[in-house]
């Protein structure tokens, strides 16, 4: 039996490599990620325990109740998005999904723009996670947070993540698989303890729909949209490691959809149990600044609260690790098409390594720089976390929107190239719903929070006209399959 499995595996690898050749690339990375690990990388990046805990009821406005409903709404629409993206991922399983899909489905100018927007979203996402984690660590150890202390812990976290990334994709998948267990058990522990030891019996009124429309005001929902939309995003992580997955045309879409679905269930449980206990907040004299932790520690006591905090720190760290991995892969894939300045450096993989070392390093450097900028801005304006997370949300949702526009315009091509996962005649409806959804969220984020986004778009346009226009207009000659086979043979890949 064992021998047979290995044979199948080898055959599958050959099929995957042939598919990649058809799309114009050769296999350079280590293809060893299975279906569960694919699910786990997306699930770790979504990380309900990071987004929902650090951003829960931000600024202490009593938003928790709205967060529950916006979580459900975001969840439903993101499922549509996951289905739409999964279909495209099944057709074109290439590293750095979003950028390559736009390239294939429209032209390389839009692809280049989308690549940048997605990259900015992802870098902001990783920085946001690590930044939130640093603040969280300082809070639970009771250290006063200053610019220097936060930056120090940020640098420490990012360097550990960089080192783990150097060790290769196999170690990262082990981390991610444990992270899934950590997340699910963590959510179950927190929710059940909060519900069992709640100061008052479970109040179903807290989740009734009628209350959702009582004194309905869209402005109540906007801060909670930031929390929920930022948390339940970035599941294109599964697609970003397509070239490292075994049978990606099947594993990537399943990984995406499963991660969104499981996150919705666990997240609603977590939000429900936190909301049930939010009344304890009025009794606290000293607030830590992270509302969810205040609720947990007041309800469950110091020792259990500390224990849960340890679980949360581990979960957030693994979320940051997964996000860092994906961002480095996006940089690698983007520079492979010469989309970045100094692309030649970032795309090179030294001998004896099967991870893009320089992409990982530049990714860490940018993250540290961005944390520093955010810290300086926030020292003038107050809370830094909404700034960075809204930037990330806007970037990632906008990149999805551009993919959806390209997909709708090239519907026929998708139907022709279909992979193992295909929506058939419902595809168009899914795409349109997803497009409207992504545009709405991007608009809200840019208008209410991420004013920085205008500047970034402006810089990108200038950069395009000054430097990139010539390069992108000049169409690169694509290597034929036979030439690719020849290169593979020269390198001795069997």
């Amino acid at each position: 039996m064992k021998l047979n499995f290995r044979l199948n595996n080898k055959k599958q690898l050959q099929v995957d490599r042939a598919k990649l050749r058809k799309l114009g690339y050769i296999q350079e990375l280590d293809r060893s990620v299975g279906i569960f690990s694919n699910f786990s990388i997306s699930f770790s990046v979504i990380s309900i325990l990071t987004g929902l805990i650090t951003l829960y009821d931000l600024n202490n406005l009593g938003n928790g109740y709205y967060e529950f409903w916006s979580w459900i709404i975001v969840g439903v629409f993101q499922l549509f998005m996951a289905f739409s993206l999964g279909e495209i991922a099944s057709c074109y399983p290439i590293e750095s999904g979003v950028y390559e899909w736009t390239n294939i489905l429209s032209n390389n100018i839009l692809g280049w723009f989308n690549g940048w927007i997605s990259l900015i979203g992802w870098i902001a996402c990783t920085t946001g996670i690590n930044f939130g984690l640093s603040e969280f660590i300082l809070q639970i150890f009771g250290v006063e947070s200053s610019v220097a202390s936060i930056l120090l812990i940020c640098i420490l976290i990012i360097s550990i993540q960089t080192l783990i990334n150097f060790a290769g994709i196999k170690l990262i998948t082990i981390f991610n698989n444990y992270s899934v267990i950590l997340h699910i058990t963590g959510v179950l522990i927190i929710s059940f303890l909060l519900l069992i030891f709640s100061k008052h019996p479970v109040d179903w009124q807290e989740v009734s729909i009628s209350k959702a429309f009582d004194n309905f005001n869209i402005l109540y929902y906007i801060p909670s949209l930031l929390t929920t939309a930022w948390t339940l995003t970035a599941f294109d992580a599964s697609a970003s490691i397509s070239e490292e997955c075994i049978n990606p045309t099947k594993t990537v879409p399943v990984g995406m959809i499963m991660s969104v679905a499981v996150s919705i269930i666990c997240g609603s449980l977590l939000l429900f149990s936190l909301n049930q206990n939010s009344s304890v907040l009025s009794d606290i004299q000293i607030k830590s600044g992270i509302v969810s932790i205040d609720i947990i520690i007041t309800t469950l006591g110091h020792t259990v609260g500390k224990f849960i905090s340890i679980i949360l720190v581990l979960a957030m760290f693994s979320c940051g690790l997964a996000s860092h991995t994906v961002t480095a892969r996006i940089i690698y894939a983007f520079s492979r098409k010469n989309g970045l300045p100094f692309s030649a450096i970032w795309k090179s993989i030294p001998e004896n390594y099967d991870v893009p070392i320089f992409s990982i390093l530049i990714c860490s450097a940018i993250e540290i720089l961005l944390s520093f900028i955010i810290l300086i801005i926030s020292s003038k304006q107050g809370n830094a976390l909404p700034l960075i997370t809204s930037l990330s949300t806007a970037g990632i949702y906008m990149s999805y929107a551009i993919v959806m526009i390209s997909a709708i315009s090239k519907r026929r091509q998708i139907n022709k190239d279909k992979g193992n996962f295909h929506l058939g005649k419902f595809g168009l409806i899914f795409n349109i719903v997803s497009l409207i959804w992504a545009v709405t969220i991007t608009g809200i984020m840019i208008v209410f929070y991420a004013k920085m986004f205008y500047i970034i778009i402006l810089i990108l346009i200038i950069y395009y006209f000054v430097y990139m226009k010539k390069i992108l207009m000049h169409k690169e000659k694509r290597l034929s399959e036979n030439e690719l086979i020849k290169i593979e043979n020269d390198r001795g890949i069997d």
Partner: protein
């Protein structure tokens, strides 16, 4: 040439048939083994050890713990080496059978069964008393028997299921210990250890407290009984044994130190649940912590029970497969691939034992059986070394074997001493003569040479000849 091919074909088919009939599923990884090893013994850290303080005093107890830990590190090393060499469900029976012979192998196997079965019954009694504490109204229903039955059914459904459940329960038990350490590390006060008489009764006291410290590790060798169900046993067994003993000993040491140093010895002695009582002293107002901890501690007992069921069922299965026990116990369920009768029938015996005998007697029998089995295994290991490693240097040879023989002699003396000092010579004699008589009246005639443990021993004999 053609004959040769045919022969190979038939042999392959025979092997397949044999494994279909008597083979267990190979599904466990080193993580599962770690879960099994730690889970089987972790309950000992929560309950029962505190009575040893009466004999030895706090410092004496620490000495005794260190001695027993070293002994178990030594014995697990022997076990993993053997289990890599002979990866069969037989465990101690297989090792002793190969090196010493049929009768000794039978004895080692039966001692293992007794150890696991009686320890499981002792744990069932603890579960019962614990459950009665939680649900006082249910004192006339035997809830623990229900728990026992539940785990029996889980074992019949499949080894993978029970291993995953065991892993989860081990994780829960370890989080309980972490919770305990987090809740109590503030209240450490060394004056509680260095009282007027830190060692009660001198050497004698330390020796008298050994049965209680043995309880920390009793049945950890159960990992070796899962060797036949392990993928790639040569690496996984080693990792499983090594990390289990490491985890358990580190936690034991920390927990014992915290318990002894944060409260008075007399307070520990007066309580059935030492960890809970210490936690209650350090965090008296934290109701959530106390109730969560008491629930998690219950789970640790469940994991003990589950691990012990795994142990005795595999040993009975292998003994019956080789003909020493009635053939019916080696029947494997066609779908779940588990020895369902070897799980169920002794389980019911275990439930009956738990209602008829008291916990102290059960633990005494289990630990004496366990140590007697170790005597055989250590002796086989000595034989293995003598046969397989030709050491020319006489000094090295002496150094190597003196240690093993000395250890064995000390253990033999200890066993005799503890039987005599407890005044149970007659009972032990009757009990062991029943076991021996069974072998000479029945087992001897029905031994099946096709069982892998027997085949392995045969090949060896042929080679020597």
């Amino acid at each position: 040439m053609k004959d040769n091919e045919n022969e190979i074909l038939i042999t392959q088919k025979q092997i397949d048939n044999y494994y279909n009939k008597f083979g267990l599923n190979k599904t466990l990884s080193s993580l599962h083994l770690w879960g099994l090893g730690v889970g089987t013994v972790i309950g000992g850290t929560f309950f029962g050890w505190n009575y040893g303080l009466e004999e030895s005093g706090p410092v004496g107890f620490i000495f005794s713990t260190i001695m027993v830990t070293l002994f178990y590190i030594f014995i697990t090393r022997i076990f993993y080496k053997f289990s890599i060499l002979l990866p069969y469900a037989g465990g101690p029976y297989a090792y002793v059978r190969k090196e010493l012979g049929k009768f000794e192998g039978y004895l080692a196997g039966v001692f293992t069964v007794v150890e696991f079965l009686f320890a499981a019954s002792a744990v069932t009694i603890s579960i019962n008393s614990y459950l009665i504490n939680i649900f006082p109204d249910s004192s006339n229903i035997n809830l623990a028997a229900g728990v026992y039955l539940f785990f029996l059914i889980m074992h019949i459904i499949g080894i993978k299921n029970s291993a995953i459940i065991e892993l989860i329960m081990t994780g829960i038990s370890i989080s309980a210990l972490i919770l305990f350490i987090m809740g109590t590390y503030n209240s450490i006060d060394l004056t509680n250890i260095l009282i007027e008489t830190p060692i009660i009764g001198g050497y004698n006291g330390i020796i008298k407290s050994i049965p209680y410290t043995l309880w920390f590790y009793l049945c950890i060798e159960g990992i070796s009984l899962s060797a036949e169900e392990t993928k790639n046993p040569s690496t996984n067994m080693k990792l499983g044994f090594r990390y289990s003993i490491l985890t358990v000993s580190v936690f034991n040491f920390i927990v014992v130190m915290i318990c002894l140093s944060s409260v008075n010895m007399k307070y520990l002695l007066s309580n059935d649940y030492p960890l809970y009582s210490v936690l209650k002293v350090s965090q008296p107002n934290d109701k959530v912590l106390l109730s969560v901890f008491s629930f998690l501690a219950l789970i640790s007992l469940f994991s003990c029970l589950n691990g012990m069921i795994n142990g005795y069922s595999r040993q009975i299965f292998s003994l019956s497969r080789a003909g020493y026990l009635p053939k019916i116990f080696s029947r494997i369920h066609s779908i779940t691939k588990t020895p369902y009768l070897a799980i169920l029938v002794p389980g019911i015996v275990g439930i009956i034992l738990s209602t008829t005998l008291n916990a102290n007697n059960l633990i005494f029998i289990a630990s004496i059986a366990s140590i007697s089995m170790f005597i055989f295994v250590i002796h086989s290991y000595t034989k293995l070394k003598e046969n397989n490693f030709e050491i020319n240097n006489k000094y090295k040879k002496w150094k190597n074997f003196l240690g093993l023989y000395m250890t064995n002699a000390i253990i033999v003396i200890y066993v005799l001493y503890s039987i005599i000092s407890k005044g149970k010579v007659l009972q032990v004699l009757i009990f062991s003569s029943i076991i021996i008589l069974y072998y000479f009246l029945f087992s001897r005639r029905f031994i099946i040479n096709d069982a892998p443990e027997e085949m392995e021993s045969k090949e060896d004999i042929l080679e020597i000849n």
